[in-house]
C-alpha cells in the first residue's frame, strides 16, 4: 500500500508571513486580532478581525517575495496567499528544481471556502456605477476558487492532478485528505494541498454577522473576542491567510532523502444532514467523521495525543466537545485539545490546512499550542485538557484535526510521527 507523508509546509497567517514566525507567535500566546483596517467598518456590527499584516509589520506578509506584481494586480488576495504558501512549501520540501518526469507526477489540491469575495464585491460596484465596459478582463479568473491550484501549477510546472475543494470551513482538511488519496491511488507522487481564504471585506463581514456567526460584543477588546469554550464567547473572529503542505508518497520521499514531518494516516468524512449553518446538536456528524478517520488509521482514541479542534468560539464548540467525549470516553484524559482559532481567528476555507500544519509542528516540537482567553470554561468542558492560555510541553506522536463547515460537512485528519 502506498503511504503518504508530509515533506513541506507553508503558511500565511495573521501571526506571520511564514511557518516559523506564525508558530512562534502561536506558542507565545499572541493574538492576531485587531480593529479592521481594510475598510471603514464603523457601520458594521462586528468591527474586528484577524487580518494578515502588511510587509512592514513585525510579523507581516510580503507578497512581493513569491508572487509576480502582475498576478497580484489581477487576482484576489486569497490567491496571493495561496501561491505564496505553496511556494514556501515547495522550498521547504526542496522541490524547486523538479525534473520534467517529477512534474508530470506532481499536482495541486488547494481550495477555498468562498473565493474572491472582495473582488466580486468591488467589481459589482464598478458594474452598477460605470457599466459592463469597465469590468476587469481578469474579473472571473482572478476570483475563481480553483485558481490557486491553477496559478501554482503554471508557476511551478506541476502537470499532475489539478483539483480544488469547496466545502466551506472544511475545505483545507478535505483538500489534504483528498490529495492524500490521490497519491494513495497512484494519480500522483507529490501533491501541493491546502486552503486559503480572504473575505475581510464589507459584504463578507456583514454576511457572516447577519447569519449571527460573528462576534459582536468585543469591538473594544479585539484580542479577547476569540475565546473557544469560554462562557463569554459570542461568535467567531474572521481570519484570513493560507496553509499549504507538500504531500508525498513515502518511498518517493525516502528515495530523494526528503525531510519527513509526519505521515497522513487517517481521513474521515461525514455529512450532518441537519441544518445549513448549525451543526447537529448531538454532534453525530463530528463523531462519525472522527470515528471514520480513526478506523482508516487503524488507531484507537487512546492513541491520539493532541486534537486541534474546530472550536470556532461559537455555540458549536460544546457540540464538538460532546462528540469528542462520546468517542474518546475515559481516553480523553490522555489527550490535549485546543483551538488555535483563539489566536488567528477562523480562516474558513484555510482553517483545516493551517491547523493541520500546527498539528504537524506540535509533533515536530513536542508541544501543544494554547486556547487563548479561556478564563471561564463553559459547562461540559470538565475532564478535558483544553490547554488554557499557555502552550504545553508534552509527548505528541499522533494528532487529530477537525474541520466542520456550513452545509453540515465534516472532515477529520489524523497525522502521526514516523
Amino acid at each position: 500500500m502506498r503511504r503518504v507523508v508530509v515533506t513541506g509546509l507553508g503558511l500565511v497567517t495573521p501571526l506571520g508571513g511564514d511557518v516559523e514566525t506564525s508558530w512562534k507567535n502561536i506558542l507565545a500566546g499572541k493574538s492576531g486580532a485587531g480593529p479592521i483596517t481594510r475598510f471603514d467598518a464603523s457601520d458594521q456590527k462586528c468591527q474586528i478581525a484577524c487580518e494578515v499584516k502588511p510587509a512592514d509589520h513585525e510579523y507581516g506578509f510580503d507578497p512581493d517575495k513569491r508572487v509576480d506584481h502582475k498576478v497580484q494586480r489581477q487576482v484576489d488576495p486569497f490567491i496571493v496567499y495561496g501561491i505564496d504558501a505553496a511556494g514556501q512549501a515547495i522550498e521547504d520540501a526542496g522541490l524547486e528544481d523538479m525534473s520534467e518526469e517529477m512534474k508530470l507526477r506532481a499536482g495541486c489540491s488547494i481550495g477555498s471556502g468562498i473565493g474572491g469575495l472582495p473582488g466580486i464585491e468591488s467589481e459589482s460596484l464598478v458594474l452598477a456605477e460605470r457599466g459592463p465596459g469597465r469590468v476587469s478582463p481578469h474579473f472571473v479568473h482572478g476570483r475563481l476558487i480553483n485558481l490557486i491550484s491553477g496559478q501554482v501549477s503554471i508557476k511551478y510546472g506541476l502537470k499532475g492532478p489539478n483539483h480544488a475543494v469547496v466545502t466551506a470551513c472544511s475545505t483545507g482538511a478535505h483538500s489534504i485528505g483528498d490529495a492524500a488519496r490521490m497519491i494513495k491511488d497512484g494519480d500522483a507522487d507529490i501533491m501541493l494541498a491546502g486552503g486559503a481564504e480572504a473575505t475581510i471585506c464589507p459584504i463578507g463581514v456583514a454576511g457572516f454577522a447577519q447569519a449571527r456567526a460573528l462576534n459582536s460584543s468585543f469591538n473594544d477588546r479585539p484580542t479577547e473576542a476569540s475565546r473557544p469554550y469560554d462562557k463569554d464567547r459570542d461568535g467567531f473572529v474572521m481570519g484570513e491567510g493560507a496553509g499549504v503542505v507538500v504531500l508525498e508518497e513515502y518511498e518517493h520521499a525516502k528515495a530523494r532523502g526528503a525531510k519527513i514531518y509526519a505521515e497522513v494516516v487517517g481521513y474521515g468524512l461525514s455529512g450532518d444532514a441537519y441544518h445549513v449553518t448549525a451543526p447537529a446538536p448531538d454532534g453525530d456528524g463530528a463523531y462519525r467523521s472522527m470515528q471514520a478517520a480513526l478506523k482508516k488509521a487503524g488507531m484507537e482514541p487512546g492513541d491520539i495525543d493532541y486534537i486541534n479542534a474546530h472550536g470556532t468560539s461559537t455555540m458549536a464548540d460544546t457540540i464538538e466537545l460532546g462528540a469528542v467525549k462520546r468517542l474518546f470516553g475515559d481516553d480523553i484524559g490522555g489527550a490535549s485539545m485546543s483551538s488555535t482559532k483563539s489566536a488567528i481567528g477562523h480562516l474558513l476555507g484555510g482553517a483545516g490546512a493551517v491547523e493541520s500544519i500546527f498539528c504537524i509542528l506540535a509533533i515536530r516540537d513536542q508541544i501543544v499550542p494554547p486556547t487563548l482567553n479561556l478564563h471561564n470554561p463553559d459547562e461540559g468542558t470538565e475532564g478535558v485538557d483544553l490547554v488554557p492560555l499557555e502552550a504545553k510541553k508534552r509527548e505528541v506522536n499522533a494528532v487529530l484535526n477537525n474541520s466542520f463547515g456550513f452545509g453540515g460537512t465534516n472532515a477529520s485528519l489524523i497525522m502521526k510521527k514516523i
Binding site: 509576480d68 506584481h69 502582475k70 494586480r73 465596459g133 478582463p137 481578469h138
Partner: protein, 78 residues
C-alpha cells in the same frame, strides 16, 4: 518625449510589472513585454480611463505596440 508617451509608458509599467527601460515605443506588448490578450484588454481600458478617449474593439485590436497606443491617443483625444 511627449506627455502622452510618458503617461502611456507609466500605465504599461504599472500594469505589466516590467522595467521602465524596456517600454520603448517600438516594444510589442505581447512579444517584448510579456502581455497576453487579456492584459491588452486591461491596458486599453486603462488608456481610456487616463485619457478620456473611447477605443472601440476594432481599433484596440490594431494596438500592438507602445507607439500604436500613443498614436491612437494623440489622434483621438478630445
Amino acid at each position: 518625449m511627449s506627455e502622452t508617451a510618458d503617461r502611456v509608458k507609466k500605465i504599461v509599467v504599472d500594469h505589466l510589472g516590467v522595467d521602465a527601460d524596456k517600454v520603448t515605443e517600438d516594444a510589442s506588448f505581447i512579444d517584448d513585454l510579456g502581455a497576453d490578450s487579456l492584459d491588452i484588454v486591461e491596458l486599453v481600458m486603462a488608456f481610456e480611463e487616463e485619457f478620456g478617449v473611447e477605443i472601440p474593439d476594432d481599433a484596440a485590436e490594431k494596438i500592438t505596440t507602445v507607439k500604436d497606443a500613443i498614436d491612437y491617443i494623440e489622434n483621438n483625444k478630445g
